[in-house]
Subunit: 193 residues, 2 copies
């Protein structure tokens, strides 16, 4: 669908309004009518911008939230070129999820569109981009002679991604960042060798 500049802005406004709403509450039972009321849009507008309805809108919101997950870790995640940068990244991840606490907007959205190919693609893309940044950081530390050559950037970056996801999952269940901190610190210690 080709949109005018104004159309793109309206579409983005709907996505951001829906995202803010979903972040502010437990949206387990949220409907398109709720989103219309929050964003001040008509039914015909919603279906103009999201012809497939609720699933398409929710996927757009999920993509938006996935982008925020990475944005919130910047600029550290994109420039893991010193131990100080790794420590700042580690702190930004812990701070982000500590602030988020037991409420995970992306997880809730995935509960609504989870299992669909579109939802799996949003998650897979997020995890791939996330891991690429970490992998690149490890490779750059190796190039600078700060991390031993024998360490496999693919495997260790995958371990970081799994560790963060699991740490956040434990946090969602227990309300504590202990596990998230433990896995990040243990993997960082392994990286330092």
């Amino acid at each position: 669908m080709a949109l005018t500049t104004k159309g793109r802005a309206t579409r983005q406004r709907i996505i951001e309004g829906a995202a803010a709403y979903l972040r502010s509450d437990e949206p387990a039972g949220v409907t398109l009518d709720d989103i219309r009321a929050i964003t001040g849009t008509s039914k015909s507008q919603i279906f103009h911008y999201f012809p497939d309805g609720k699933e398409e809108l929710f996927l757009a919101v999920a993509r938006h939230e996935a982008g925020r997950v990475l944005d919130d870790q910047q600029p550290h995640l994109g420039a893991l070129t010193s131990w100080a940068a790794w420590e700042r990244w580690r702190d930004s991840v812990v701070a982000r999820y500590r602030a988020q606490g037991r409420h995970c907007p992306l997880g809730t959205l995935m509960g609504q569109v989870g299992g669909t190919p579109g939802a799996q693609e949003v998650i897979a893309t997020l995890l791939n981009q996330w891991q690429s940044h970490v992998r690149k950081g490890i490779a750059e530390m190796q190039a600078a002679g700060l991390v031993r050559e024998g360490l496999d950037p693919d495997r260790v970056s995958a371990a970081f991604i799994a560790g963060v996801q699991g740490g956040v999952l434990v946090l969602l269940n227990t309300g504590s960042v202990t596990h998230l901190e433990a896995v990040l610190d243990t993997l960082l210690e392994h990286l330092r060798g």
Copy 2:
């Protein structure tokens, strides 16, 4: 509630029948009537054994499934006293979740009773018991002089728990055990020092 031996057996039969049913299918919309049909029990029987109804029954099934999660890792998990035992444990975890694939019965159950104090207690108990086994294994390896003294069993066992949860979460989304293997192997390498 005090039950006779026969009553306890009936209650257990309902739990196991419901668990098998929930493992075999996507139970997102499962009802008490489905469970009654599967287990051949009457409404009054269900409410005799589970006076609070669906949530109580589902929590009992979740507890049953949580027990299986640990059982499936035995005898390795309970005796992590040599590197061979750690490797067998690692392989049993990967094999268990590879076989389970994208369908997580405990996760689905938690989706139905998630957020309730009862559900959080089931998960917290499972994670605590799981981590205790790993912590004990690390301490025993240290006592035997196989793992360096400087390593903190609390922190590294928490890292293992987070890593496994995250590896399984990625598997549920991508269908691949790559991340689960990566985090287990990286943490084992760290343990070996």
